[in-house]
Structures are given as C-alpha cells and as structure tokens.
Assembly symmetry: C2
Homo-oligomer: 337 residues x 2
DNA sequence: AACGACACCGCAAACGTTTGCAATCGGAAG
DNA sequence: CTTCCGATTGCAAACGTTTGCGGTGTCGTT
C-alpha cells in the first residue's frame, strides 16, 4: 500500500540491533564485528535498501545536488551544455536539478528560490535575456552558495564563468573567407543589444581590417532570423556590386542565405561563399554542407561544472572569480571551399 | 564564511520565541497572535528566509520532486518533452530531477537508484534502447512510487503511459500523398526491431491497401540515416519505373532524399513528393519546406506529467494503468503539395 | 581477585520542520 | 476565592541518518 521505502531502522528492527550499528555496518566501520556486518549487508541487499538521500542532506547540510538555471532546454546548444553538466556531475556523485527560465525574469527568480529552498550545493546559471535586475543572484551569493555563469554573463557580478570567444571565432570565420580569396564579405549581424551580436560583428570587422579590406556599412545587415536572412540576401544580390562571401551570425540565417542564393542561380561557394555560426545540427544536412563555428556546448557544460566542483569539493578554495574562455573553432565544410 | 542559510530556529532565537511558534506564525495558524505573526513575517522577509525543502521532505516523507529518466536530452523531441514536463510540474509546485541514460542500460539502472535514493514522489521514464532487463523498473514499482512511461514503452510492464499513434500518423502521411494523386509511393523504413519502425511501416502499407494500391516490396527500403537515404534515393531513381512519392521514417532521411532528388534534376513536389516524420526543427528551413508529422513532444511531456500528478495528488486514486495515445498530426508544407 | 585492554554495540543528540499536547496567563463566571 | 475558558505559546517527538561517547562483556595479565 503506502510507501515501501526501507530504512536503517527497519533493518535494525528485523535484526534486533540498533540503528547506529546498522549505519556503521553499512559503512564498514571497524568497530562492528564481521558477523554483524555480514548480516546487515545481506539483509540490506535483500530488501533493496537505498540510503535516504534526503535524510543525509539534512544531516550533512550538503545535498550533493547542483542546480542549473537555463533559458530554454529545447535549443541544441543549451541541451548539449546540460549534457556536459550531467556527465561531469554524475561522475562526481552529484545530482542535477534543471530549471528553465524560458527567458523570463519572474521565472528565473522563482527558479532561484526553488534551488535555494532545496539547498543545492552550487548553481550554474545562464541568465535570461529579460533579466536586468540581480537581487535574486545576489541572494545566491549572500548564502555563500558557489555559482558559475556560463554563456550568458553579467559583467557587474564577479563570479566564475565560462564563455566562448565569440569575437575570435568570428574573426577566424571571416579570415577563412578572406583566405579563400573573397574581397567583399557581407555580414548578417545579430541585434546590437546582445553581446554575442556585438562580439561577432567586431571579430568580423577586425578580420577585414587586418587584411586591409574595407569595412563596408552596406554589407552589414541586421538579420537574425530565417526570414530576415532571405530579405537581406535579396537585397545584397540587388546591389550593383554584390558580395562574394557572407558571414552569418547563426546557422539559420546562413541557410536562409544559401536557399535564396540558389533560388537566384548563384553557385555556392563558387560565386558566393557562406559561413554560419552554429546553433544546431543543421550544418551537416544542407547542400552544400555549411561551414560553421562549433560552439562546444558540451565542453562548456563540463568545464563550468568542473569549476563549480572545484569550489564545492574543497571549501577552503577561495581563489578570486575566474573567467574561462573556450575556443570556438571553425568547421570548414562545402559552403565555403 | 560558511553557509548562511537562515532557519526557523534563527528567527526564533532572535525573537526570543520558540521554533514552533515561528513555524505556526509563518503558516498563519489561528493560534498565533497578530503581533507575533507580524514580527515573525517581517523578520523572515528581512532575513530572506526560505523554508528548507530538505527538512520538509524528510518530515513529510514527500519530496515534491519528480524524477525523469530520458535517453538523450540533445534530441529536439526529448528536450521538448522535458519542456512540457517542467512547465506542468512547476505549476503544481514540483521540482524536476532529470537523468540521462545516454541509451545505456547501466546508466539507466544508476539513474533509478539515484532517484529512489532522493525519494522522488514519482518518475517519468522513456526507456533506453539498450534496456532489456527490468529489475530496476520493478524496484520502482516495489516501492509504490508512481511511474509513467512516455514514448518508449515496455509492453510487459503495466503502467500508465503516453505514446503517439505512429501507425495512424504514417497512415495519414501516406494517405496525404495518395490524395495528391501519387500512385507509386516509396517508403524509407526504420529498423525492424524498433516499434516505431514497424508501426510506421504498417501505417504506410495500410493506407496503400485502403486505397487499393499495391504494396511494392522494392519501394520499401530500410534507411534511417542521412547517408542511407541518399543511397536509397539513387536506387529508386535508377529503377525503370521510379516512384512519384516518398514517405520517409524521419526528417533526416526525407532531407537526404530531397537533396538527392534535386541533385538529379527532379522537381519537388511536381515529379516526386516527399513527406517526413519530424524529429527536429528541420522541416521549416528546407527548400521546399518539408511536409512532416508533428510529434507533439511538449504535449507528451505535459500529458505524462498530468497523469503522474493525478496519482501523486490523490493517493487513493488507484485506477488501473492507462494508455494515453496522442494524435500526431501531419503538417503539410511545400514538399508534397 | 582485581585490573586494564579490547571488541563490540547502544544511547542520544543533531540536522530543520511540523504538530499533538500540555502549559501558562489573564480574566470572567460562579 | 475557586474554577473554567480562551488565547497564546512552548515542549517534545518524529522524519532517517550519523557520530561522539559511554556501556557491556570477555579476555589475559598481574
């Protein structure tokens, strides 16, 4: 009928010994006789005893749990981050509680509350786009709960964090086009209020400058959706002097560009080369396959978790906040070569 | 320095009253005077008190937590299921612990152990492909922990579950092609040892039969990867009498087919129509856009969670195991019309 | 016979919270 | 001046586990 959870007390009762003896027997404490240990362990196995993690958490004021706050799990990038987090946490004997903010501030605040209430030992967070007030984040710090930011960072808050070098990746993507002989490279840019938008644009411009190519404002178009990319591509093709390469702020826009180019009879990469910035699994299934930046989501998750564990596992580790910058490297495929 | 977690005892000590009074004051118990309530609530707010969920779990033998075991989070389908789970659970005041099996039996067993140890109130599970032994699942039942299967089901085990009607969806996908005037419809089939492979093939064949069309063995090719789809498409085109429609077991193979067709100068859908079966977000960004079956992952997650909550929230609900079959409906796009 | 050494085990407190019950107090009714 | 009642509040036990400390029993040694 009701809950069948076996406890140490049950074992103690059945064996006619005390709970403390059972506890010690299970942990192979030297004070306990071999006979008792044997009896306890056998019964425990027979009854399928599992220690009550809840009681342990309470006893030790340590839950062996880490909390994750993430904008949206359905994005390939974020779900691969979670995968990295899970694997590392799992190996260290930690359980992971995942909360989605759905890019909403109020949900994020509620998530923090829930995690603090559950007394997680540490948290990993990628802040939502909507979040511009940080009291809930300060609440985490006030409680001395170790925290690591990943991907999305709040510059004002000093914490361990791991990000990718968007600027460098964009630089290399652009340089790759330049090295392929392209001289008029367009850029589909992200919104100016998002750091990734800015960083990627800066990398693009720097690569041009370093190659003594002009930065041409008309070739930089804000386009971060599939539909906008189609419009932007048409606009580029209607110019008297169209580009010979396109560096798009993400894969979706790159694909929009490719389709439009093909529809208008442009050969990729012969006439115009295209490079994307990966948010998904699209790059391998386009025709031609799409050259793109690998964002290393899994690695980001695993590195962030390791940074967190470093603080969790030795509490007197109190180095100042560190910034771990991941190299995002270019995967060259058919669309650019 | 060390943990700054505020407890009821702290509040009691500061106010010079007992912990029980604080507890009652916080829950607005009628026995407590307004003055005391006010003082307690004000101090609690000031100190940012959050009830210790761990202690509550122990006290109530109810953790308000549900566990999820899922093969791989990085698949769009599964991550959308999780999204559905999270939203419903969150609204009911439950926390979600997600474990990945990575399609491995041993990980799945470990996941079950972890969840049982954490005394989750219920579990949602999509069994891994590798799992053919069910002792760990029986362990959940032995403990009377409510459980709901989703997507992947073990026929031998009687539990609530929610699946989609693969067969019906395939039937409709095929029928859609037939209604469009196609008479020689090929099928890229999944492996015969997976239920989805079988179900989808059966639906396909049934639709043909119901339309008095012959089931032609040469037109059914086992192809469940991008590369296999390319080969299979070439094989079809090399036949003396090629098909006029292709129903693919998933979107990836459908896209492989589309690319191959286009490469060989076939017009889609004019000469050959293509229909996929959705596992991702590809369908909107192909050219032409891909007609596909929507698997309703989010809905599956939300329905499964609701089934679970029904048992969790009223413990004397003991209806027999139920099977909830979700309609997976066809989204008609450019590749077939 | 007395003592210490040793092996083995149980008691009780603690983690933070809830809750049945008892206790206290002021005052009203008898 | 008792007695009783309502309004407040505190005590203590409980959830499952760990752990310091003390207790018991059996030896061997003097």
């Amino acid at each position: 009928m009701s809950s069948n959870q076996i406890t140490i007390k049950d074992i103690a009762r059945i064996l006619g010994i005390s709970a403390s003896t059972v506890s010690r027997a299970l942990k192979n404490h030297p004070d306990i006789s071999e006979a008792t240990k044997k009896a306890v362990n056998e019964l425990a196995k027979k009854l399928n005893y599992e220690p009550n993690a809840v009681a342990l958490s309470l006893k030790h004021s340590r839950s062996n749990t880490i909390g994750v706050i993430i904008p949206e799990i359905v994005h390939y990038f974020f779900s691969s981050v979670i995968s990295g987090i899970e694997d590392v946490a799992y190996d260290a004997g930690f359980t992971v509680i995942i909360c989605q903010s759905n890019e909403r501030y109020d949900r994020e605040v509620a998530n923090v509350k829930a995690l603090l209430s559950h007394r997680v030992d540490g948290v990993l967070v990628a802040i939502s786009k909507e979040t511009h007030q940080y009291d809930h984040i300060f609440a985490i710090q006030d409680r001395n709960v170790p925290m690591v930011f990943f991907d999305r960072v709040i510059p004002e808050i000093e914490t361990d964090h791991v990000i990718i070098d968007d600027q460098k990746a964009s630089y290399e993507a652009t340089k790759h086009l330049i090295d392929g002989g392209r001289k008029r490279i367009a850029h589909f840019a992200g919104p100016k209020n998002l750091s990734i938008g800015i960083e990627r644009r800066v990398g693009y411009e720097q690569a041009l400058k370093d190659a003594n190519l002009p930065v041409i404002p008309e070739l930089i178009i804000e386009a971060d959706s599939f539909e906008k990319a189609i419009k932007a591509t048409n606009k580029l093709l209607d110019m008297e002097n169209p580009p010979d390469g396109i560096f798009a702020v993400n894969d979706l826009t790159a694909i929009g560009a490719m389709q439009t180019l093909q529809k208008r009879g442009i050969k990729i990469p012969k006439q115009i080369a295209v490079v994307g910035f990966s948010d998904g699994r699209f790059s391998g299934i386009t025709d031609p396959t799409l050259t793109s930046v690998d964002q290393h989501g899994y690695e980001m998750g695993s590195v962030a978790t390791k940074m967190l564990l470093r603080r969790l596992l030795n509490p007197n580790y109190d180095a100042p906040a560190q910034s771990h910058v991941l190299d995002a490297n270019l995967i060259v495929r058919g669309s650019s070569i």
